[in-house]
């Protein structure tokens, strides 16, 4: 049996866990055991998937026995399995952290009976989005994770969270509607929503139609990924959520958007039709985001702005659409998920130790808690891209790819990336100076907790442990950067080539759009009803029985 056929378990296991934890809502201990156990199991499975894909190549699973392009497929390739592993490491660490926080707090603030099932559903949605090879199923994956995130965002229902939650929900729903409109139009234009099939059929469309569909998908994903003109909602809504929730959102949700953008650019609409606007947008995302970060005095808001800013790096790598650029972007995504999540988890610890996440109220934390200072320092310099950390390697890869490309715009972006990196250093150095280095009495409005050192308990081990583990994982990304960069390079090569992906879904005889003439023969691997170029809309799937039953 091929291990790839177990891929749907990455979605099924968390959903099963959600059902179990929901049933066990009167027994917090059982909830914790079930959710952590099932998530660990998922992580093991995904590591196995990654190993198998590494050796045997891209594989696909047809769900419910419907053959593509009729049914929903899940595709495991190197990029998606890498994203799965990294996202599961993150979500497991954050889950343990949140459980630790809940145990330490006596579960006052967050109703834990809701937290565990919702969190697992969020993980299931993220896995589904990474695995799916069907555009509508991607929408369903997005909706699963978004609906779970609405609940997590407004956990506790306090005033600020409701206010932030409203912005978040409305913006997310609008982006989902845009995505759905795009899907409808793509279906109308091509008669299919299987991504591998679309990769072939979109190439046959009129360039104007194609551009329209392309832009609509990018705008929908751009809102989710928080790319500059569409990023306004993120710093507004993320900081108010509980620390572990913000951490997992910062790590995963925007990256799912980036992942979808990568698939759009490489699989559905290859070629460089929109690369110039994407590059401009990447530059603006980097600069505007980081300038916003410098203005903040709250650590969580500052980190939210750096999150927006560093999405720009990934879009930059993507927009170069060269193997080197894409490989660096893939590496950067893995690095940034880890680092940004660790920083938000550390901020949760800072809030706990110093009583606030506002830099005006903090000071002297380095002396109060040297371990906390270390935990902040490593991911912070990693984020800013100080050698030898993985942030430096990712940025170096991007800069090299940009210089290799050599166009004036790419060189401008290289300069912009360096400036953003320096400004990131400035932003995290401000946090370091104000929260960690200065004396507590130098703070503008020192938090009483800082002076009253006697009455505070130590930070709970269950919270420090996962944070430290994540920081170590971030350092491990540096140590194993060689194999990781190789993996990123391979996956970039595969994504730009598309052959492996399309063949794994549609079979060995599938036509390759890059190789065949654009208006060549009817695709051989597709049943006759699937390709009717003369009447591409609507009735293209006459004999397909209710495929959507599985959706």
């Amino acid at each position: 049996m091929n291990i790839a056929s177990l891929a749907p378990l990455a979605v099924v296991l968390p959903i099963l866990g959600a059902a179990l934890t929901f049933a066990l809502n009167r027994n917090p201990l059982a909830q914790r055991v079930v959710s952590i156990g099932l998530l660990s199991l998922t992580l093991l499975l995904e590591c196995w998937l990654l190993a198998s894909v590494w050796t045997t190549g891209t594989a696909s699973v047809t769900l419910g026995g419907w053959q593509p392009p009729w049914g929903v497929v899940m595709v495991v390739d190197q990029f998606s399995s890498l994203m799965l592993v990294v996202s599961s490491v993150i979500s497991l660490a954050v889950l343990i952290y949140a459980t630790g926080q809940g145990m330490a707090d006596g579960d006052r603030e967050a109703p834990v009976s809701i937290f565990h099932p919702t969190y697992l559903i969020l993980v299931a949605g993220v896995s589904n989005a990474f695995l799916t090879g069907d555009l509508f199923n991607l929408y369903v994956g997005f909706e699963i994770l978004l609906t779970a995130s609405y609940v997590l965002m407004t956990l506790g229902g306090t005033g600020p969270r409701i206010r932030a939650g409203v912005t978040y929900v409305v913006v997310s729903v609008v982006s989902s509607v845009l995505f759905l409109i795009a899907i409808a139009m793509i279906y109308g234009a091509t008669g299919t929503i299987t991504m591998a099939d679309l990769a072939i059929k979109l190439a046959e469309l009129d360039p104007g139609t194609k551009n329209l569909l392309h832009v609509m998908l990018l705008v929908a994903f751009g809102i989710k990924a928080a790319v500059f003109p569409l990023s306004f909602w993120l710093p507004d809504s993320y900081p108010t959520a509980p620390a572990p929730v913000t951490a997992v959102f910062a790590g995963l949700l925007t990256k799912v958007g980036v992942y979808a953008m990568v698939r759009t650019e490489t699989l559905l609409f290859p070629g460089d039709s929109l690369n110039t606007p994407l590059m401009v947008v990447a530059l603006l995302t980097m600069l505007v985001g980081i300038l916003g970060a410098i203005a903040q005095s709250d650590i969580k808001r500052l980190l939210s702005f750096t999150l927006v800013s560093h999405i720009g790096y990934m879009v930059f790598g993507l927009a170069m659409s060269s193997i080197a650029g894409l490989a660096a972007a893939v590496f950067y995504v893995a690095h940034h998920i880890t680092v940004q999540t660790s920083l938000f988890l550390v901020t949760g610890l800072i809030e706990r130790r110093g009583g606030s996440s506002s830099m005006d109220r903090l000071g002297g934390l380095a002396k109060l808690s040297p371990l906390l200072a270390l935990l902040f320092f490593i991911p912070a310099v990693n984020l800013a891209g100080i050698p030898p950390f993985s942030g430096f390697l990712g940025k170096l890869g991007l800069l090299q790819a940009g210089i290799a490309l050599g166009t004036p715009l790419a060189l401008t972006l290289v300069v912009g990336a360096v400036v953003t990196s320096l400004l990131t250093l400035l932003a995290v150095a401000r946090v370091w100076n104000r929260a960690f280095w200065r004396k507590p009495e130098d703070a503008e409005y020192p938090d009483p907790v800082l002076k009253n050192t006697a009455g505070i308990g130590l930070l709970p081990r269950t919270m420090v442990g996962p944070t430290a583990a994540l920081v170590v994982f971030g350092v491990a990304l540096t140590v194993f950067a060689g194999p990781l960069f190789q993996l990123a390079g391979n996956s970039a090569e595969q994504m730009l080539d598309r052959t492996a992906y399309i063949r794994s879904v549609l079979g060995e005889n599938a036509p390759m759009p890059g190789i065949a003439a654009p208006h060549g023969d009817a695709p051989a691997g597709v049943p006759a009803g699937g390709a009717l170029p003369a009447s591409p809309a609507g009735k293209a799937l006459p004999a397909a029985p209710a495929q959507g039953g599985g959706k």
């Binding site: 609405y150 005033g159 939650g165 409808a184 900081p239 808001r301 799937l541 004999a543 029985p545 959507g548």
Partner: protein, 151 residues
């Protein structure tokens, strides 16, 4: 492909009203706008299915071309369920906003306002050296600077 013009016009009106409503500040109106947008999108998906046909129940004697395309309807069903869940959640949030603040409007982010009002002058970074911090007397350094830089 034939398109039902009535459906298209209804869809256009729904989109227009929906977009108008989500630009309002009142949450209930925003919710209504989102619902209209979701339904307009459902109509759009429906119209991508092409002309109406027979129910897609398999029958050997029927020409495959006479069937209706079932996929858009399956998509719509999923999308209806999703928008139903989101609407229920929004209603919960709106009620909570009302319970907390006795108002239906979206409120501004207080921290945003505060950061926007912050003067560009930063006491920590921009002020003149506030006090003696080094072992070299400040006065000596500044006098040396006045005389044309340090020797």
């Amino acid at each position: 492909m034939s398109v039902n013009l009535t459906l298209l016009i209804v869809m256009g009106v729904l989109f227009a009203c929906g977009i108008y409503l989500i630009l309002e500040r009142s949450l209930t109106r925003v919710l209504l706008g989102l619902m209209l947008l979701a339904n307009a999108t459902n109509l759009l998906i429906l119209s991508t299915g092409g002309y109406a046909g027979l129910a897609p129940l398999f029958n050997k004697s029927t020409d495959p071309r006479d069937y209706n395309d079932p996929l858009p309807q399956a998509l719509i069903l999923t999308s209806i369920v999703i928008s139903f869940a989101v609407t229920a959640f929004m209603l919960g949030i709106i009620y909570r906003t009302w319970a907390l603040a006795r108002q239906d409007d979206i409120q501004d982010d207080a921290e945003d306002r505060r950061v926007a009002k912050t003067p560009s002058f930063d006491a920590e970074d921009d002020s003149v050296v506030p006090e003696e911090t080094s072992e070299f007397p400040v006065t000596a350094v500044t006098e040396a600077a006045k005389e044309g830089g340090p020797e």
